[in-house]
Assembly symmetry: C2
């Protein structure tokens, strides 16, 4: 085992201890579909996605370093926003979330309900990084990045760590790949558990920057935010820390891509046969499994969340 | 504790040992909705409902008494059919299921896929009891009743037994009430756990024979199979053994009814907030909780299954 892996796996263990009591230990499920599968349904995590694992680890670590931070800031219209809002209010730190003006009002309301201040006015997908830097400078708040942050990565790694405690003989672990926060943490936990385990990232084919980054050996960027059912992985590039863990250190063995039809089929099957109301992003590993794109062997699938747009899902079920 | 309760609770413990290895120990979930709730999602049970608990206990008990039974027979177009088919084929006993001609073809196919012989020709909702007696006489097969059978009741009681092992301080346990198999078993396990626990059955208001049986002190019958979203509780009367356990021995404290609108709202909330793809029958205890119809206190809700008609659910989600 490399020093890199050893050190980061130790940080995941510390994250698990740090966030215990704030996040749920979600169950490991078996299914009639295939006796060799193990499912990690993070839809049952607080706020409905795995994101609080990283957000709590980042904010609790921040408070351990600086006992009175002025506040934290996040840019997100989705699961990360709610996770940061919850973690910050639980820990007693002010939170500010920048959400583009055209975001789903239900998600904005959910973020506010968890105690965060939300700024929407004048925020667009295009200018949000610029506005972020301005607001950080004005307020002196600390950024909680959704994926390119070691504390966040270590927190996300606690999901796979639990899965492998429950199912020690897994030969394959698959997780969605967007910015790489979940997959980096998953890979650290999985390779620490057993070096021969195969770690697979699953990405929509229309958002294949991660696949191309893996194949090319350098970070590849999408020219625009992709249009995919899997709205949790619309990031245009993976982070540099994520690239380092996943590909420079080779902790991820493979990235596979799935079509929009494969994602839709996986959502339908999850809802009808697994009885899990997953969001499309959460169903990515299932889509890869159903399409026969995972390596052979006992596989653990990490389902990242369940905060689906019900209109979309209702259409998929018909 | 009465002798009745003591004896039947002992039988539930024996059932738990007997069916272990054939059914899943489903998890106990917590939820953002209310920190005092505990959920028992039997949608994750094999075949997608709690029914295999009773079916395995009945068929394994039958084989223990008679090492070479000629076969078992069931009348059902739903979850009980699949449970009996699975249990019989696992144990190596022939199974015959009578399903009315107008039943959902997908459910017929699922029952056949689990190894049962299915007879549909000439079977109607009205004549099925008559045809059952004829076929039993012809073949010498043993009936596995869906609820009015002590072995079935003891098997169903293992779900609440697990729930109370996981959440020992519950003050209320609620389960759907149709024929009374699940609720009888639940009441035995719950009152054995703590005599002061409140056991509540939940029934659609349009199928309130159980409610009226509880109030009147004798079994009341619906004149026709009710039209309710909760298609798992369309039985017209509870069974005599179920009446005995639930109401003669007073193990059920209360029956509450919910409207079709309340059931629809509970299904929507289960799918959107709990991320559980429940069938409407499975959501009955949640409907009662949301309507404020459960007694105060830490409540465990037994969600009986997830085999929903996707068309129906898609309509509810819109």
């Amino acid at each position: 085992m490399t020093d890199f892996l050893h050190e980061h796996a130790e940080q995941v263990s510390q994250a698990a201890a740090r966030i215990r009591g704030h996040v749920r230990r979600t169950p490991t499920l078996t299914t009639d579909l295939d006796a060799a599968l193990r499912l990690k349904p993070e839809c049952f995590q607080v706020t409905g996605s795995f994101k609080p694992r990283g957000a709590f680890n980042a904010i609790l670590s921040l408070v351990a370093r600086d006992s009175r931070p002025r506040g934290v800031i996040a840019v997100s219209s989705g699961n990360h926003a709610q996770a940061v809002a919850l973690a910050a209010s639980t820990v007693g730190v002010p939170a500010l979330v920048l959400i583009p003006e055209d975001a789903n009002p239900a998600k904005v309301a959910a973020t506010r309900a968890l105690g965060a201040e939300v700024i929407q006015q004048g925020i667009t997908f295009a200018n949000r990084e610029q506005r972020l830097r301005e607001v950080m400078a004005e307020r002196g708040f600390v950024l909680v990045h959704p994926f390119d942050d070691w504390d966040v990565i270590h927190g996300q790694g606690t999901a796979a760590r639990e899965l492998l405690q429950d199912a020690q003989d897994l030969e394959v672990v698959a997780a969605p790949l967007g910015g790489g926060g979940l997959l980096s943490g998953t890979a650290i936990s999985a390779k620490r558990h057993r070096p021969t385990i195969r770690v697979v990232g699953v990405e929509p084919a229309v958002a294949d920057d991660g696949y191309r980054s893996w194949r090319s050996g350098s970070i590849q960027t999408l020219t625009a935010s992709p249009s995919t059912l899997a709205d949790g992985v619309r990031t245009t590039a993976i982070g540099s820390r994520n690239f380092e863990a996943m590909f420079e250190h080779g902790l991820v063995d493979q990235v596979v891509t799935v079509s929009e039809e494969e994602i839709a089929g996986a959502v339908r099957l999850a809802w009808s046969r697994l009885h899990l109301a997953l969001e499309p992003t959460g169903a990515l590993p299932l889509a890869a499994y159903l399409a026969g794109k995972l390596p052979k062997g006992r596989a653990g699938l990490i389902f990242s969340g369940g905060n689906a747009n019900l209109q979309t899902v209702a259409t998929l079920l018909k």
